[in-house]
Symmetry: C2
Subunit: 442 residues, 2 copies
């Protein structure tokens, strides 16, 4: 059987597979790996500052001394020393939790999968930011949920928009199970949810009987070194919190976690066991030893400084090279800037021309399930060096400029993308009752 | 929130969670860890013969030399060198396959999850051996499938029973999606599917439009060193094959794989990415280097010798210590013996008394979804030393003996378990048209 033959299974697949499609990010990995292209597309952390020699020596001892434990099956909940350390990490964001309420997972991606699995039947609604993390949208789609996007502005999710979304679902007879949010240094929007709004949104969801799914991979990567208080810190009963070592240590070990109210935690352990038996013990012990014996807070500080420098390079280059009418967010941490191209430009259609000009990004539509984001894109500053970022943004500015000229010449006959509302959107205020956001303009 | 509070989410969970319950194996892990108990329950491989010093040195170099790749995100399909090596391993069982049709997963458990996810809607039927692997039953339950058990005898699945099961499902209007089988050194039954039956069952499934899900974690652990030709080797289009490094190398890395026809493989990669983004790159590179630079076939030979010695210890002890009327299978490889207690004994009810007598096993009902297996149990010989195995079986014999005396005194008023059919069953021939199996009698 080859890729060209018809699929004999076509009638045999589960209904949920109709929502499984290759993401824009996936298609771009091949492009991004070509050295002449400046990839502002991928979300790979920059690992060069890790103390590899020391980690190598430590892992050598781990296998020599405890190999028959590290290489064996383990608990479906994860090893206890690591769960204790995870509680200490979460305490930095005001969370008081017991190791028994933590479940270690194969990256926080797997935690997303498990939470969706235990909460959502087909047709259930998940509220998610507009835009939202593409990997979460893949999970939600695989479980046949419906995503309702909720507008953000530069202070994150807009509480009134959350209320309207809930009311709209109720009016349509839809059951809302979760509000999914990345409150800190949002992927892809680059914004952070304000403290006032955290309390307000937690209250709205509690009142509506909707659990908050707080996804926080970037929380310790704030460029000023300050951490924001987690939503979970003030609402232990209605918030399910996801964390990850992918950005604070390394993603190649695939270790994340979920902190959940006790009853849900029990179901998550069972679901974790059914999916993987247990997260890899070796990887857990490796991270646990790293946390115990390295100055991991200094390592995170080094990461922060690296990413702050790159953020600055990107923002400076955007100011220099972007044509009028281009807008973008100003992240205070994390990996991403969310850019809105001048009116009428279609970032998906433009991508092949950008790659020809040797720069790559992720088109905005990847971050929505409803066709929004057509004039937007995500730019990552995490992996390329500052020089490369500046060069990439310069190339991107030229591509947008050329595109705009074509658009000005041929007008709307080119078929511009669907107007996007909310953060950086081309059409402010599309969500009724919400004022236009105040994006940063070039 | 504590474990004692009512579950506020009780109305919010997905319907699939009703099938998620703690397995008997899981509950037993705590028991098995007490040193005074001889655990014949767990399926942990015996890792002491691994060359830990050499592996440690190699992993040290992996991180020193290639840490920034090994600790980074990777492909959702798995790294190519490992997929090439996997094809070489599968060639030992007659499989001709391309690396492009292999997807690396977080253990073959995750492959089970992904295959079920892309093929099965709620209510779809999966045919599975009677008994079947408990971890697979957990997955099938999480996707709300219905499992129809098919009788085995000492030559594995009975083709006529497969045909009858398919006909029965058709008569009830049920859609059968998969036949799940462990053809080699079955978990828990300990039997191996004969070559003639492999061809016959593949033909039956192909004709009926049912994909075969061939799960083969133990295939290289045949005690005579011979490998059985995989079902996949003679039917590339209708067999989805699962493999694992958990028993041939080590389970703590959680690396397995699925080989699928091309169209299904594409969907599996998308499902893999949605669930975990990618299997841990570090673990994949570690196994790839192990395979490239160690004499891994000699290592597997060492494993085989260890397990053969333990199998012999268990079989000898069973002959010596089991009361009349006890029957068991004689495995030619793998980890497990399947035991049928004398008529009327309930192995679930007996378990607490066995643990009091310092021996543990897994009650047979864990391996069925339909209540069969009440007088049966799985005994593992993989982890304890031969001396401990003999002592554990001696204790178990005493417990069964005592139980049988009580049963003889109080008769059926004790409420014996539901009669089991098929392999080692108390009631031979319960599946119409199938002759009684010929179990081994003490």
């Amino acid at each position: 059987m080859t890729g060209n033959s018809l699929d004999p299974y076509v009638a045999a697949y589960a209904r949920r597979t109709t929502g499984m499609r290759a993401s824009a990010i996936r298609a771009l990995f091949a492009v991004a790996s070509r050295p002449e292209v400046v990839s502002l597309a991928g979300g790979m952390p920059y690992l060069q500052s890790l103390p590899l020699k020391e980690i190598a020596a430590q892992v050598e001892r781990l296998i020599s001394d405890e190999g028959s434990v590290a290489l064996q099956y383990g608990s479906g909940q994860g090893i206890e020393p690591l769960r204790e350390q995870i509680c200490e990490i979460m305490a930095l964001e005001g969370i008081v939790a017991e190791p028994d309420d933590v479940v270690v997972t194969v990256g926080s991606q797997m935690a997303l999968d498990l939470v969706t699995k235990i909460f959502c039947d087909p047709g259930d609604v998940i509220l998610a930011e507009a835009p939202s993390y593409v990997g979460a949208l893949s999970v939600f789609s695989a479980y046949q949920t419906e995503v309702v996007h909720v507008a953000m502005d530069d202070s994150g999710l807009i509480p009134e928009a959350v209320e309207e979304a809930i009311a709209g679902c109720a009016a349509r007879g839809q059951r809302v199970k979760l509000l999914y949010t990345i409150p800190n240094f949002h992927n892809p929007a680059g914004v952070t949810l304000s403290a006032e709004r955290r309390a307000r949104i937690a209250e709205i969801c509690r009142s509506a009987g909707i659990a908050v799914l707080e996804d926080n991979p970037y929380g310790l990567l704030g460029f000023d070194g300050a951490t924001h208080r987690a939503i979970r810190a003030d609402d232990a009963d209605n918030v399910i919190y996801l964390g990850s070592f992918s950005k604070t240590f390394a993603p190649g070990l695939r270790i994340g976690w979920v902190l959940a109210p006790h009853a849900a935690r029990e179901k998550l352990v069972l679901a974790n066991e059914a999916a993987t038996l247990n997260p890899p013990v070796f990887n857990q012990m490796m991270i646990s030893r790293y946390l115990a014996s390295f100055d991991w807070k200094s390592q995170i500080k080094a990461y922060r400084q690296t990413y702050a420098e790159r953020r600055d390079a990107m923002l400076g280059a955007l100011s220099t090279h972007m044509p009028d009418g281009t807008r973008w967010t100003v992240p205070q941490g994390g990996f991403y800037v969310w850019l809105t191209a001048p009116t009428g430009l279609d970032t998906s259609a433009m991508l092949p021309r950008a790659v020809t000009a040797r720069v790559a990004y992720v088109p905005g539509t990847a971050f929505f399930t409803d066709g929004q984001g057509g004039s937007q894109m995500r730019l990552s500053f995490c992996f390329p060096t500052p020089d490369r970022i500046v060069e990439g943004v310069r190339r991107l500015g030229s591509v947008i400029d050329a595109e705009r000229e074509v658009h000005a010449t041929f007008g709307s006959g080119m078929g511009g993308p669907r107007a996007a509302g909310g953060i950086g959107g081309a059409t402010p205020g599309v969500i009724a009752g919400v004022d236009a956001p105040s994006p940063n303009t070039a």
